[in-house]
Amino acid sequence: MTGPVHADLVLMLLADARLPVAGHTQSGGLEPGIRDGLGPQDVPAYVDVRLRTVTEVEAATAVLAGRLLRTGAPDAAWLDLEQAWEARTPSPALRDASRRQARALLRIARRTWPGAPAWTALEALEHPSRAAALGALAGHLGLEGRAVAHLVGYDDVQTVCAAALKLLPLDPGSVVGWVVAALPAVEAMATRVSSVAEVDDLPATTHPLIEVWAQAHAATTRRLFHA
């Protein structure tokens, strides 16, 4: 394949659920939330809360990873970024889920774009987070910060909503409505994080229930979704 490719096409490729990165194993924490009492009526608010907390942190981290790649930052900068993400992701289960998703993503990315500088940069990290891996890949493919934030936000909304269809009695048409209704919140989140330039700019927001649910989920044997 040769010739120019618009960033829109790259974004579509990375946001497509058909990309084999084990996306179907994730519920964005919805499965344990439902076990703890969330119902169909709560899903839009749950999506919104994520966009203002854990997903904002993930998006900001990915944006900064893309920037580190473009600027050829040293290993120390990647380590700082990963530690900042760890500090903002106190639940070990969430960190583990993120790292497993990173492995899945890097598996296909390394095969598709072998020898990319992004993989050399990520070698600074023993077990990169999904945010670092996705940001590095997106940076390698030329996506700007806002597009990276769109990708993380949109993917999170679709992950939760697609899982809702499997966990709750719902009409897929209603769920499309939830996704569309969440888009302004995705845009607002992208606006907040797209100009993140250094580790100290990263938001430090989380949600205790999301953390607690993630820990409980990792300990149960009655899971449809990994996280």
Binding site: M1, W113, R223
Partner: protein
């Protein structure tokens, strides 16, 4: 956009560690996949380094069955969540299963000789990606009706071995084994199929012989 790789798969390097034969077992719910895998483990684990990856509805239902059967060390049996997409996990997006196999192989320092992958119970259209397994068995049973081989589908038609299980139940469910034999032969051409009953032959000799032959082929290659 940077150039993607044009190769179709990872190129095995001459120094690549030995890779276990990957055998997939899929088929509809309740046809006997877990029992067949337990049997293979029981019969083969003394002489072979085995691992198992399971994909049940809830994480580790099948894994627990196998662990409790005591036919293999619990650590050699890994469960993969499929997010209610058993079909996706063995065909369209094999990542989670492939990672589980690779982890098993690494944990056992590439000594494993065969990894069995058990699909979650699915419908007749389920089939394994050739990127995930080397050979696959499709299991149906007599209790599902003697029409199943005639219905076909990729598993019934193209699996490397079709197992028609629970033949002892045929008189009780009004299934005609001759019809099943005839229809299976018609849709499968030269591809093998066997009819078995674990109550009459708990070792499922016909399946075991086939699996041993696959191991021999892999070893010779």
């Amino acid at each position: 956009m940077p150039e993607p790789s044009t190769t179709h798969g990872p190129t095995p390097s001459p120094t690549a560690p030995a890779r276990a034969l990957r055998l997939g077992v899929c088929g509809p719910v309740g046809t006997g996949k877990s029992s067949l895998i337990a049997l293979l483990c029981r019969e083969l684990s003394e002489r072979l380094e085995l691992g198992v990856v399971t994909n049940d509805i809830y994480t580790d239902e099948d894994a627990r069955f196998l662990r409790s059967a005591g036919v293999l060390d619990a650590d050699r049996i890994r469960a993969v969540e499929t997010g209610a997409c058993p079909h996706t996990a063995i065909r369209d997006d094999i990542t989670a299963n492939a990672m589980a196999i690779e982890e098993l192989e690494e944990d056992y320092e590439h000594r494993l000789e065969m990894v069995l992958v058990e699909s979650g119970g699915d419908n007749l259209t389920a089939t394994f990606s050739s990127g995930l397994v080397d050979v696959q068995i499709f299991v149906i049973d007599v209790a599902g009706g003697d029409k199943v081989p005639r219905k076909g589908g990729p598993g019934v038609t193209f699996s490397d071995l079709l197992v028609i299980n629970k033949t002892d139940l045929a008189p009780m469910v009004g299934a005609d084994l001759d019809v099943m034999r005839r229809d299976a032969a018609a849709v499968r051409g030269d591809r093998p199929f066997v009819l078995i009953s674990l109550t009459e032959d708990p070792a499922a000799s016909a399946v075991l012989d086939w699996v041993r032959a696959q191991l021999q082929v892999a070893q010779d290659a």
